[in-house]
Point group: C2
Chain length 409, copies 2
Amino acid sequence: MLQTPWEYRYAHRTKSMGSSVIRELLKLTEQPDIISFAGGLPAPEVFPLEKFQEACNIVLRESGAQALQYSTTEGYRPLREMIARHTARYGIEVTADNVMITSGSQQALDFIGRLFVNRGDYIVVENPTYLGALQAWNAYGAQYVSVRSDEHGMIVDELEAALRVGPKFIYILPNFQNPTGTTLSLERRKQLVELADKYGVPIVEDDPYGQLRFEGEHLPSVVNVDSQYRGPNGGCYSGNVIYMSTFSKLLAPGLRLAWVIAPPEVTRKIVITKQAADLHTATFNQIVAYEVGKGGFLDEHVKVIRATYKERRDVMLETMAETFPSEVHWTHPEGGMFLWGILPEDMDAAEVLKVALEKKVAFVPGFPFHPNGGGKNTMRLNFSYSKPEDIREGITRLGTTLKELIAKR
Amino acid sequence: MLQTPWEYRYAHRTKSMGSSVIRELLKLTEQPDIISFAGGLPAPEVFPLEKFQEACNIVLRESGAQALQYSTTEGYRPLREMIARHTARYGIEVTADNVMITSGSQQALDFIGRLFVNRGDYIVVENPTYLGALQAWNAYGAQYVSVRSDEHGMIVDELEAALRVGPKFIYILPNFQNPTGTTLSLERRKQLVELADKYGVPIVEDDPYGQLRFEGEHLPSVVNVDSQYRGPNGGCYSGNVIYMSTFSKLLAPGLRLAWVIAPPEVTRKIVITKQAADLHTATFNQIVAYEVGKGGFLDEHVKVIRATYKERRDVMLETMAETFPSEVHWTHPEGGMFLWGILPEDMDAAEVLKVALEKKVAFVPGFPFHPNGGGKNTMRLNFSYSKPEDIREGITRLGTTLKELIAKR
């Protein structure tokens, strides 16, 4: 017998919910005294607390009644205009009508699933891809065509076969991808846009980390490449890309503020979806974010974040080079928050994690990022959250663990 | 031809989205110079700006890094404990494990739809009922069995027939209902709980206004009545009610903070739903709300709100008595934010609104609150937002309009 009458009413929907291996594993990584590379948290040391406090005070003093009241579903207009101006700097012509605010990028992923995905629909994804997107779209019964990736991102040569399956859209994280840390090359961005045009399949571009480049040249975003493209199907195929980004990595994830850029008719539909889902994103948070960002503060602040993350990535890469066994390989991200480890094919990263946890160090096994199975021998390491000395210590422990396990095989 | 490749991909889902009569009507009520009783906004004059500013400063000073970071999906534990303690005062034994935080009540309604409603499922509602709930559940293909209501809320004598349809759950707003302002009597609460037990149908209790009683005696909530009930089906049928309430009316809607109280196994499922939908509600807002509420401030603050709303309701009722034609009837709410007007049966409130807008006064026609049609001759009036002098002026204009229209028939 189930315990309450509710359970009979949702059992059909929650069968897959109960058994998340990754959820159980992640719980273990939250034990105290563990040096964890498992999460995806920004460094709390770079949160601009003073600037934020100043902004809260200004907003409550000057527009408190507005900031605490209900507001429009599409979001605070000055914030949307600021985002449009910021986007225009990179050569994409958008106005506030193209921009809507969501309660974090996860909500944008959810709304995209709600609006576009019918049970059984295919979505083309990189393999591996962002777990949060899979969780959002699994709820709508999505299936995935996964395209392999290498150190330059999705292997676009293999995309055409995937597009012939008739997918609803292509989902791509072109910059410092989660989980691999790799970046899609400019050549591949152009190929992607061309193939998407050829098959009439639109693209969802998820770009939370694009600003966090600490090495190499900035590459134009996919939406930018698309807007420049003049293809055989009637010229400029504008509006083929829904672009998303977030304040979580630039300012603070605890605000839950992200944005979507899309053709105005598409944002209008997402706005109606949002109206039924949560009315609007917190007014106060939007006005405070605008107050923090309006004087060009974010441009300066992002330099601090880049310097902090570069140091941590460098320490992680150096320590891996010193302590990891030669059988293990890893990516060298030019930005972002994650890197990706590849163990010998016969090893299981989940088993490695169990041993690592005994040594008080944690990471995320890579298999859940693979929607169609595989990836058991892979692992994701976050370098943004832990302090350099903890990274050195934690990676050393992990290197020792890996050496022992590889020697024992 | 549709304009972007996206539109072909959502057209099936958005056919019903485009044509919201109510949305178009509400846009008209937002013109400047209009005295609007159409919205559902709290009085901005009662927002505790200083208390809020103080709380923001304390939170950023003492736990800024935590407040700006990612946090758990179920919500900030001290806030959930505070809500559990508050609920326990009314005789319901709950702990933080029964409580989860949502981004406003609308999100709780959405999650309930997501978890429980399959296309074609029936939900029992009062007629009329809250429009936001209908919007949330329409997205999941719900149908409605509507039970008539009178000045004491749902006519529970007519509920049994509705329960025999085999609905997924009963949705009820027992206190100062939106849109009618009526309150379900204690006798009917008991009958409701008994009938729900008899047919094994659970209840969703939506209680945003329960604290805003300015006249008469507090009645135990349905979840409370249910927890006391010893029915024929094995005694205490605990867990049959999902209870929801919000900080939107007690503190500020711009924070987007509400809560759900349910059996722990049900909250766990809603938490997993939320994880895929938006990860968690803004950390900062939760910690600030806790800081504002922890010293008993809300108990004092709600008295200010009650006094303010009572004055506004009194002015509205008095002016209606003075200026409305005798053919029009209305409810006399003992709390909350709304009252309900009933015009002669052959009149259309949407037509009245058009004339009223010319006289710069607005309300919401009642038909959209009736999920199965009807209610053309009804209207909802909000008394919480406008200042007393504006209420007097606006209601006088509306009374004049109604007298003219009734004379012209």
